[in-house]
Amino acid sequence: MPLAQTATTVPVVVNDDLCIADKGCTACVDVCPLDVLRIVEKDDGKKTAYMKYDECWYCMPCEADCPTDAVTVNLPYLLK
């Protein structure tokens, strides 16, 4: 019973030009109550935060606590 790969649009968007994950920042990952954000290494070797799990309460600490204003919380498509 293999699992399907179903696409989903995610509400939290990170501007990787502004993200300072490379400097060890994990502010957004740390504060998410649902723990849905992670840090990933990009093709150019730099790191950025991104939304790994589509389980968002659109509560905003990730956006509010980002020191470089790199994070935007949109409403999940199903309810906006």
């Binding site: 109550p33 389980e55 309460w57 659109y58 509560c59 600490p61 199903l78 309810l79």
Partner: protein, 581 residues
């Protein structure tokens, strides 16, 4: 991160506090202050900095009892009436007496309450004769201020560990078993006292949007406190008194009658007519709301577009900054302007939450549960209409009582086999090669909750629910499959949600009467004070299924006159009244 590791660590502490949201931090601070020698550990499955119902803040206190504005007697009376009389007043009364001290303490933490232009408290008159609403102009900083206090007090904080079961032995609490949400490593905490502040069961019903996490409550509050208390053998009270709230449709955030009501906003039907006059949340009010939606006069709206520009600007300022800041984005996305359109409302999914109703783990006025050494506070404990200040205050009671309790006890011994059994249970979904992912187990459970448990409650439907829940449980236990530690956390939540669904069905079946308006509207039964003027206490029976008993309501401290008892009935606008200006 998220890779499943094998590991087990054990630590000892005097007081383990599970849940770092609202009640937990206050319990930790109070316990530490009362006994600076005590080893206090505060554990959260998220990060204490931003965990719990007030993750993003709160716009005010709904139930402050401030000398000169309201009395403990008045407040106790109001709460008793609002709960159809089913209320042990001691806990409510103690809260009412001591919450002002907590307000002052929060003020000293830097959480600011609205003051007038002379620097005095500015309490808004909202409902009843007493005055209970105290706005918080910098309410968005609540969590930050709390966290600062925890760090200053050098409280031991453990983040990203989820408690899954309590340990008991010698007839009292012995600790808890926890699992890391990012590595699946186990942690066993031996403790002389355990304080639970795990919040509401907010992921019980499915929101109408169908988005699993689009709940009214912070979606991380999935009801672990109820499930852990149940499996440990504690009593849970009146779980049939569900939480259902009037919300902004789809967005599922509060419509904030507390903010808009005093400024002249109100709930209206499709014709723009007012149909309930009191916007104070109660089961009766929700019944009227439900009837209007079902009776062809819906949709139901929050009406603000008749208000003065200055008033609307003020409402926007409060509602869009604090508590759920995405609210402004939501309205913007739909082109809703408070000045022009009414705002569509709906009723929320069901949940357990004493913050707005009266159900939860049974506690007394010291926040003690029925298990010695085990405490509960906040949305998961059964002190009615707690709200945020109740969580702080009852959390404080728990912390202070626990600091005394640990002085006289040593660690309770427990069966080490419990740990092995729990590890096996927790890790089972990681041992399979494929199967059903947790989100499907959860979705199905919650969809069934909506289909069969949502009021009005019908016996045949609830019996069907029980049957279907058993099938889902079989699927879960034999076939749930996870790929990483994060999914493992979700699988544990799915299991908790199913436990809560079982309890909701069983408790609702047991009370064969209607009470608390929509919250427990059993269509086949009328209200029956003769047989059901009592608490219902649910425990885990010998057969592993919910068992029930009735428990007397303790004699009142504040008497309620016969003719006052129906004060929350008759909420519908009568023929004599006219639409508001």
């Amino acid at each position: 991160m998220d890779e499943i590791l094998d590991g087990l660590t054990q630590i000892d502490c005097d007081i383990l506090i599970i849940g770092g949201g609202t009640a937990g931090p206050m319990a930790a601070l109070k316990a530490k202050r009362k006994n600076p020698e005590a080893n206090v550990v505060l554990l959260d499955k998220a990060n204490v900095k931003r965990s719990g119902a007030i993750s993003m803040g709160m716009d005010g206190l709904n139930n402050s009892v401030i000398p000169g504005y309201a009395t403990p007697e008045q407040y106790t009376k109001e709460i008793t009436i609002a709960n159809d009389g089913i209320c042990d007043q001691a806990a409510v009364y103690r809260y009412a007496q001591e919450c002002y001290g907590i307000i002052q303490e929060l003020d000293s933490f830097g959480i600011r309450f609205q003051k007038d232009q002379n620097g005095e408290y500015d309490v808004k008159k909202v409902h009843h004769i007493g005055t209970y609403v105290l706005p918080m102009p910098n309410g968005d900083t609540v969590k930050k201020a709390l966290y600062r206090q925890l760090r200053k007090a050098r409280i031991n904080i453990i983040n990203r560990f989820m408690a899954t079961r309590l340990l008991t032995g010698e007839g009292r609490v012995a600790g808890a078993i926890c699992v890391n949400t990012r590595s699946a490593e186990f942690l066993v905490v031996r403790a002389k006292a355990v304080i639970m502040g795990l919040g509401a069961a907010g992921r019980l019903g499915l929101p109408t949007s169908g988005y699993l996490y689009g709940t009214y409550e912070n979606a991380s509050n999935s009801g672990e406190g109820y499930a852990m208390a149940y499996h440990a053998g504690a009593g849970l009270a009146n779980l049939e008194c569900y939480q259902i709230n009037p919300l902004i449709k789809d967005y599922n955030g509060p419509a904030c009658a507390y903010v808009a009501g005093p400024m002249g906003g109100y709930t209206a039907n499709a014709q723009g007519e007012r149909f309930i006059e009191c916007d104070y949340w109660s089961g009766q009010m929700m019944q009227e709301f439900f009837d209007e939606l079902q009776g062809g006069k819906g949709p139901v709206y929050l009406k603000l577009n008749h208000l003065a520009e200055e008033t609307i600007a003020e409402i926007e300022r409060v509602l869009h900054i604090v508590e759920r800041p995405t609210r402004g984005h939501f309205h913007e996305g739909r082109g809703t302007d408070y000045r022009k359109q009414m705002i569509e409302m709906h009723i929320s999914e069901i949940g357990f939450c004493s913050g707005h109703s009266a159900s939860g783990v049974f506690v007394d006025e010291h926040a003690r549960t029925t298990i010695p050494g085990l405490y509960a506070a906040g949305d998961m404990a059964n002190v009615p209409h707690n709200y945020m200040l109740g969580a702080f205050t009852n959390g404080a009671f728990a912390g202070m009582d626990a600091a005394d309790y640990i002085a006289d006890v040593d660690y309770a011994s427990f069966d080490m086999g419990e740990i092995d059994a729990e590890r096996t249970r927790v890790m089972a979904p990681t041992k399979r090669d494929d199967g059903i992912p947790p989100n499907q187990i959860e979705y199905k459970t919650r969809r069934l909750v909506n289909d069969y448990l949502q009021p009005p409650k019908v016996t045949a439907k609830m019996e069907l629910a029980q049957k279907r829940f058993e099938e889902v449980r079989d699927d879960m236990e034999s076939g749930m499959y996870v790929r990483d530690a994060h999914e493992l956390m979700r699988s544990l939540e799915a299991s908790t949600i199913l436990d809560c669904a079982d309890m909701a069905a069983a408790a609702s079946m047991y009370r064969t009467e209607s009470r608390w308006g929509l919250y427990h509207n059993r269509v086949e039964y009328e209200r029956d004070d003769e047989n059901w003027f009592c608490h219902t206490i649910l425990t885990k029976g010998e057969d592993g299924k919910p068992a029930h008993k009735k428990q007397d309501v303790k004699p009142y401290i504040v008497e309620i006159a016969e003719d006052e008892r129906d004060a929350y009935y008759k909420q519908r606008v009568g023929a004599s009244s006219v639409a508001a200006e």
